[in-house]
């Protein structure tokens, strides 16, 4: 039985554009061009190699032959998953997701806890008129550092009069990372569960807090007949219409880091920038590699749950160094994984990492 990806690799001309774009190449044993070659010849692949991929998508975007190397990687991982031969940390993330519907294994019952502590009441999406759903995302539901993001965005939407609701504990992991890890069976289950909830409550629109969630809901859940956007798109529009107004100044030099899943994979570059540019006093700096060329923070593709064997200078460190060299006081980004991966090296260099909503909350 030939799979789609198996036939696609046969069109690969080994041009090396993929490896040239890959954030892992040159510093780790991961060489995507070579992997495509091996797949062409159906040679064996060392089991640790496919796990380096961060799912940034650069290879697939740039490939002149539409080989879709990122999909081939997922297929390779699938084979290991079905054999049961995967790193323990990945196993744990998958098993946690199966039991508690989030890879951290935190209690499903507490998924909506962030909204309960707020002063404004966050309704269940079924109780709203607009049937507009704010899709929280696992890391933002449970991680103390990221929990501020849904709180912020909920506050901002509320301020601007945008009605929305949540699913609370009925929300399951979107499955973006799960699919990229190669557990297609589990991805299907998550997808079914979420889809059933969307249908049951007549969800008409989804605002995703994480670009990863947005990506899979928009592109991998099939035709839901639901409008799906990242919150930055909504907030940028709100500022444009004047329903929220950044009043306070923010006199800092801030450099914006384009997340892969928001930027290069979904072409959302301008909205976060328009939000930042609407803030008085904020001097927006750009990385030398920005927008489509943005450097992957290495948080995707399962890398949040799993540490690769090779030790090398992480992209996050390089990013932080450049921010410091350019004189930035803060790095701002609009993806929770980027926030987490950049924050470690940033704290060391004495520079802060802010999520977009955190800056907004200070100026509205």
């Amino acid at each position: 039985m030939t799979t789609q990806t198996q036939t696609r690799v046969l069109t690969c001309i080994q041009c090396g554009k993929c490896t040239g774009s890959c954030p892992e190449s040159g510093r780790t044993p991961f060489n995507i061009r070579m992997l495509m070659r091996k797949k062409q010849f159906q040679s064996g692949i060392e089991e640790s190699i496919p796990w380096y991929c961060t799912s940034c998508g650069a290879c697939t975007i740039r490939c002149p032959r539409d080989v879709k190397p990122s999909e081939v990687i997922i297929e390779m991982r699938s084979a290991f998953v079905e054999d049961g031969e995967i790193p323990v940390a990945i196993q744990k993330a998958l098993e946690n997701t199966f039991v508690q519907k989030n890879p951290w294994g935190r209690s499903r019952a507490k998924r909506g806890a962030w909204s309960e502590k707020m002063e404004i009441e966050i309704p269940h999406v079924s109780e709203t008129q607009s049937k507009r759903l704010l899709f929280t995302c696992c890391i933002q539901a449970y991680d103390p550092r990221c929990m501020v993001i849904p709180v912020n965005v909920a506050t901002i939407l509320n301020k601007g009069g945008v009605e929305f609701g949540v699913l609370g504990e009925e929300e399951a992991c979107c499955g973006n990372e799960i699919r990229r890890i190669g557990e297609s069976g589990l991805f299907e289950e998550l997808q079914e569960e979420n889809k059933a909830a969307f249908e049951e409550y007549g969800v008409k629109e989804i605002i995703a807090l994480s670009p990863h969630c947005m990506n899979t809901l928009k592109k991998e859940y099939g035709d839901l007949g639901i409008k799906i956007s990242h919150y930055s798109e909504i907030v940028a529009a709100m500022i444009k219409e004047g329903s929220i107004v950044p009043k306070e100044p923010y006199n800092k030099k801030v450099i914006y880091h384009d997340p892969c899943f928001l930027g290069k994979q979904n072409n959302i570059f301008d909205e976060p920038r328009s939000i930042l540019n609407a803030i008085e006093g904020l001097e927006l700096l750009e990385y030398s590699r920005s927008r489509e060329n943005s450097m992957c923070c290495e948080g995707g593709g399962g890398r949040m749950f799993f540490e690769v064997e090779a030790t090398y200078q992480r992209n996050a460190e390089v990013r932080v160094q450049e921010a410091v060299d350019k004189g930035a006081e803060e790095i701002v980004t609009s993806c929770p994984f980027c926030v987490m991966t950049l924050e470690d090296p940033a704290t060391e260099k004495g520079i802060k990492v802010k999520e977009l909503s955190e800056i907004l909350m200070e100026v509205l």
Binding site: A89, K92, W104, R145, F305, E307, E309, T311, R314, D344
Partner: protein, 312 residues
Amino acid sequence: MSYALVVAEVRRGVFEERNLDSIGICALLGQDSILLVPEGDYAVSEQLVNGLIRAKAEEAVVLNPLNMVNILEKVMAARGKPDVIVFTNSASGTELASYAAGYFNLPVITDVNSYDKEQGIFYKSYYSDKIFGEFRPSGEGTFIVTVRSGSFREFAVDKGSAPSVETIEDVTVNAARTFVEYVEEEKTDVDITKADFLLSVGRGVGNKDEIPDYEELAGLLKAVISGSRPVIDKLWLPKARQVGTSGKTVKPKVYLAMGISGAFQHIAGMKDSDCIIAVNKDPEAPIFQYAHYGIIADIHKVRDKLKDILKA
């Protein structure tokens, strides 16, 4: 005459400290404690119990459940049935207790952590230690308990006089299970998941040059050194020592975290440790939410002070 039979755990010539918990519960049960011990040269504070039964068999024989039940048969034949048989809740204690329960058809409650005298109720943990079950043996007759280490030892008091002594001879040795040898943990391979005491260092350590001093402290405390992800990423400690979601999950008796802020992914790897002690100069560090004890201070200063005290 009612009595509580305490089956002592003696291993490699050491009368294990957790036996004190077994002796302690007898006081709460209002029973005379009769301690069953193997042959051998080891120290035991005999005055903590009312009676001593020396089984004429070496440790390895006595620790074997197949032989233990025969010894218990002999004890009961000589002394009559005890009201309760107490074992330690340890690898061997639970093994012996469960086998004896099956052999003699007796009720058994394991891992007892407290006892209510008034109601005659034993407390035991359920559901990841989130709930306590109140248990009682149904009906009369001998029953078996294993006691959690550290739960009752304050009740083990000196009786003020030497205990009565009996011996059990002719212990039958069952060939269906035999002791081969002890195997020590290999010192070269560090498995932090097996350590009872971890001294874990985080980003707060500052730089690589400080690590040897922390290793020295770990040595003095007989702790195994481990670290959070930033420390491993920088190669200050090897990967095998990483605690966290992408490292190892540990549940030591004591987790001493120095200079670790308590990032979510780290906490996930150690939050079930019995006792978490955090040292950090930031009072807002999230780790203090998970720790049982904390010191808000510069970790280098704490390290140096501890070393001074230990070396004195």
